[in-house]
Symmetry: C2
Subunit: 254 residues, 2 copies
């Protein structure tokens, strides 16, 4: 009987062109498919809970796929970690009911964005943070973060994707409404960390929220402007897209 | 008046072909020389306290060079960190008496070798450790480490370099005698760390000591064999060379 597998994955996205498989380019999905095929001989396309962009990391991405041949979970787990590059690790492997799907079954996600505030960013940290030396008004950034909690139209914070536009889905009035359950900044040693939990995220949404809140920290925006920015539903009204290297997909909730 | 500069450097050696400048290849010395030239217009070849091999990291490498034009230390420090790749950081910049030389003035060095012992090695740790899942007899490894303290001929633990042999320096009976002041293993969370302090180290010496002590941990050698291995003065008698990625040049003492 075929088994429906759920994998929990951590990866360093620095050297990958994101999650989604692309011909000739290193991607997480591509590496995972290749490893599964090398181990089982079966060609599958593992489905992720969502795509992560080039350079974005994961502490708890989830992927699912169906394998025809039976294999004990422990063996699949170990064989994958022996076969995958060290930058991609399987943290857990379990077989699920057949209706489980990494993307369709996901109920919410946590993301984390890390800003480094110290004097000199150590070489072993630089791949995983955005190093920012400007003074930042963290209290104002906290007020801005709180303004995103709740159900909002996040069009002002969504990438205006040329490929999406070309497919005509902008015209189709795809919904940009998402619900954010938690949104806040924490200071931990030299790190300033944004943690956000929501039922879904638009393309570049976390990086655009962070880029805009950095603008608040630098007094280019007021924290009290956030509801107005949301209401404008205009990407050009909000701040810059923060670099990919500071972003982690932290966990996916089912 | 020309100033003699001392830089303290940390680097992630993963993506570099070692310290020493090589045409067309990324090296630490090459990146540093390029950054100094971009900032000051002066072409210098920074001298390191010693070469580190491809893939070896540094927490406190030291380099020295002379610049004709005056520049405040703070400005040189900041400009270098703005110009260098994020994998190379300047931790300190100071001007020294003219007889200071990063290599000739060095009195001793500390190295650190990190072995990861946990179940799954996180992607952000994998570049900086040797992940080893075999059972290891750590007490035997501690006894072996203690046997290296003192003045010994370390030929059994020195790389038999083809280029050195070609230059004829093996015939010249170059000394392989070095003094080790401290040598021991520490367990810190998921890491097993070898720390060694000596007045000098032969090429590959730390990695060969570690590879041999891993052999002790796996019961391929006895801890009590170490004095005998030293006495043989034969590289083929000792264990394998441990991978570069676990090795850090920790500090240089003057």
């Amino acid at each position: 009987m075929p088994l429906n597998w759920k994998l929990t994955l951590a990866y360093d996205g620095t050297d990958y062109r994101g999650w989604q498989v692309q011909p000739e380019l290193p991607t997480i999905q591509g590496e995972l498919a290749a490893a599964v095929e090398r181990i089982t001989g079966e060609r599958v396309l593992p489905q992720g809970s969502g795509r992560t962009d080039a350079g974005v990391h994961a502490l708890g991405q989830v992927a699912s796929f169906v394998l025809k041949a039976p294999i004990p979970a422990e063996n699949l787990h170990r064989a994958l970690n022996r076969t995958l590059p060290a930058a991609i690790r399987v943290l857990g492997a379990e077989s699920m009911p057949e209706d489980f799907h990494a993307r369709h079954s996901a109920r919410s996600k946590w993301y984390e964005y890390r800003i480094f505030r110290g004097e000199v960013c150590p070489p072993w940290t630089a791949r995983y943070v955005y190093a920012l030396h400007w003074p930042l008004d963290v209290e104002a950034m906290r007020r801005a973060a709180a303004a995103f909690v709740g159900e909002h139209d996040f069009r002002s914070f969504a990438a205006s994707d040329p490929d999406v536009a070309a497919r005509g889905s902008e015209d189709a009035e795809e919904s940009h409404v998402r619900t954010i359950f938690a949104s806040g900044w924490a200071e931990e040693d030299d790190l300033l960390i944004y943690r956000v939990h929501g039922n879904g995220f638009l393309h570049h949404m976390v990086r655009n929220l962070v880029g805009t809140m950095i603008g608040v920290g630098r007094r280019q925006f007021d924290a009290e402007d956030m509801p107005g920015l949301l209401a404008l539903r205009d990407r050009s009204a909000a701040g810059a897209t923060a670099p990919a290297r500071g972003l982690f997909l932290y966990s996916v909730c089912y």
